[in-house]
């Protein structure tokens, strides 16, 4: 089988609206009109096909009924392709497909807009609320990774949004729980699900801005952009607006220094942190970094000292416990 040239006389029909067929046509010569009713205005539309233009593409590729009637206005020559033949042709000529993609994406945009206009005039969830609810769903089900993603996105897009203060609190809790219990485990989120009293707006806005800065910097760390992250955390720590965030940023600064292999500065930074915040929630983790610094500096005895200390501070079910145990084993093995 190969593409077929077909002649049509004036006033004949190539296909009817509602037909199901897998043929795609290109107009070689003559005049063909696509007739259909505009879905928005109800007007009868007659679109003239230009010579060299494809038609019947969407319904053939999408395998649905024709949306137009193709009426031949004067004697015409067309070439009919089956879908596989069309695929063959387009694999040799990507330009055709790109051109069509552009046309289709314009059409898609237009129809999508029309649909949205209809829906907005009816009922629709605000994206802000929608994003918040997604975080709520995942946190309730202890799926911290997914909840954190949604919440952090929320703060990125709506740093002073309606739920910003609540979201900031929940991010912390989710991170704690993720650390403590691991993904998919942990307490039923009855407490977190309870309605939150609203804080003073000014305070919450400030906090949300800070939270945004902080989580942006955290995301830089995950992208391994330690130098940039370091700079951001430093800003938060020096601004000193909120003690909690200062403590958190101070910890992250140490972490960045470790990854930047500035071990001496890193040790200093964590030591200062431990002195200033002896009850820092990440205390054990901070000690672990100090230990790792010494290990990388080939000061094994000191490293071992810090590791052993950590083991007295945390419980066996803490994920850090295993890491530290392993580090000690490796030190003893080498």
């Amino acid at each position: 089988m190969s593409p077929k040239a077909i002649q049509y006389n004036a006033n004949s029909i190539i296909f009817f609206k509602g037909d199901v067929s897998e043929k795609i046509y290109i107009l070689k010569s003559g005049k063909v009109s696509l007739n259909y009713t505009d879905i928005e205005t109800g007007q009868e539309i007659h679109d003239l096909i230009k010579t060299g233009e494809f038609f019947g593409v969407r319904s053939a590729l999408g395998r649905y009924a024709r949306e137009e009637t193709a009426l031949v206005l004067m004697d015409s020559n067309v070439i009919a392709f089956s879908v596989p033949e069309f695929e063959q042709l387009s694999s040799q000529n990507t330009r055709i497909v790109i051109k069509m993609l552009k046309v289709f994406s314009t059409q898609l945009r237009r129809i999508h807009k029309q649909v949205q206009n209809m829906i907005y005039s009816q009922e629709q969830v605000k994206p802000e609320t929608g994003l918040y609810r997604i975080g709520e769903y995942y946190i309730k089900n202890n799926r911290y990774t997914q909840a954190l993603y949604a919440y952090k996105r929320y703060l990125t897009y709506y740093p002073s949004g309606e739920y910003a203060a609540d979201v900031t609190r929940k991010i912390e809790r989710a991170e704690e729980n993720l650390q403590k219990y691991g993904q998919g485990r942990g307490p039923a989120e009855a407490a977190a699900g309870s309605p939150q009293e609203i804080e003073k707006p000014a305070k919450s806005r400030e906090l949300a801005g800070l939270a945004k800065l902080y989580y942006n910097a955290v995301s830089l760390v995950s992208q391994q952009k330690y130098q940039e992250a370091f700079g951001e955390f430093k800003k938060i720590a020096t601004a000193g607006e909120d003690e909690e965030y200062v403590a958190k940023a101070q910890f992250e600064i140490g972490r960045c220094l470790y990854y930047l292999q500035q071990y001496d500065t890193c040790i200093k930074s964590f030591t200062a942190l431990i002195q200033r915040y002896p009850k820092h929630p990440e205390l054990a983790e901070a000690l672990f970094f100090v230990g790792k610094c010494y290990e990388d500096k080939e000061e094994r005895q000191k490293a071992k000292g810090f590791y052993t200390k950590i083991l007295t501070l945390i419980k066996e079910e803490d994920p850090l416990y295993r890491k530290v145990k392993k580090a000690v084993r490796e030190l003893e093995g080498s």
Partner: protein, 216 residues
């Protein structure tokens, strides 16, 4: 293919198992072609996470990002460690030129999306909420593969929330109407599916309402 691969390398992104690739309602202008691993597309509907699809390597998702200012309509989560090519309006053409297979795949996807949107628009133009819901069932029936039996009864693996979503009405209102259909014995409402007893009856009902509306 090798040269093409190196050319594509800079568009490569990877995700760990469980990572959210994007989240429903967030704005986004990237879309993805999966190279390795599976991606789950989900939607949170009320108290449940509804699985929309599990996509395999070679499949495209997030393609609605070409729409301006449209928030994501679903959430994409990596089911395995995933690598994907990340497209946007800028690199789109370069990627397409080197890979007619992807271009063709997108062309088919867009064809279907345009049709879905047009069909949705048709549903929304109906004033009468009962007709709207009946038309959603007609649309779902059009998507079903043609059955060999000429049965008028069709089972849909769908929920009230789904139907409400298509008809752009509240789930509560949708449930009320469907219950009304149940009382009329036109529909059976089961836990994981809805059975329409006579799809032709719905087709007649919708077309009558549509005609009446046009003549008003």
């Amino acid at each position: 293919m090798n040269t093409a691969n190196t050319m594509f390398d800079r568009f490569k992104v990877s995700f760990q198992k469980g990572d959210v690739i994007f989240c429903e309602y967030e704005p986004g202008d990237n879309f993805y072609l999966i190279q390795a691993g599976r991606v789950q597309i989900v939607k949170i509907m009320g108290e449940i996470e509804k699985n929309i699809a599990v996509l395999q390597p070679g499949e495209v998702f997030g393609e609605m990002a070409i729409l301006e200012e449209a928030p994501r309509s679903a959430t994409a989560i990596a089911l395995d460690p995933v690598t994907a090519l990340e497209f946007n309006q800028e690199n789109f053409e370069i990627l397409m030129q080197g890979n007619p297979q992807i271009a063709l795949k997108l062309l088919k996807l867009f064809s279907n999306r345009i049709h879905d949107q047009k069909r949705k628009f048709m549903i929304l133009t109906l004033d009468d909420v009962e007709a709207k819901i009946a038309d959603v069932f007609l649309m779902l029936a059009e998507k079903e593969p043609p059955s060999d039996t000429d049965s008028e009864k069709i089972e849909f693996k769908t929920t009230v929330d789904d139907i409400a979503h298509w008809a752009a009405i509240s789930p509560a209102k949708c449930r009320e109407v469907i219950n009304h259909f149940v009382n009329q014995r036109r529909v059976e409402l089961l836990q994981d599916r809805i059975v329409v007893k006579n799809i032709n009856d719905f087709a007649r009902f919708v077309s009558t309402r549509r005609r009446r509306q046009e003549h008003q």
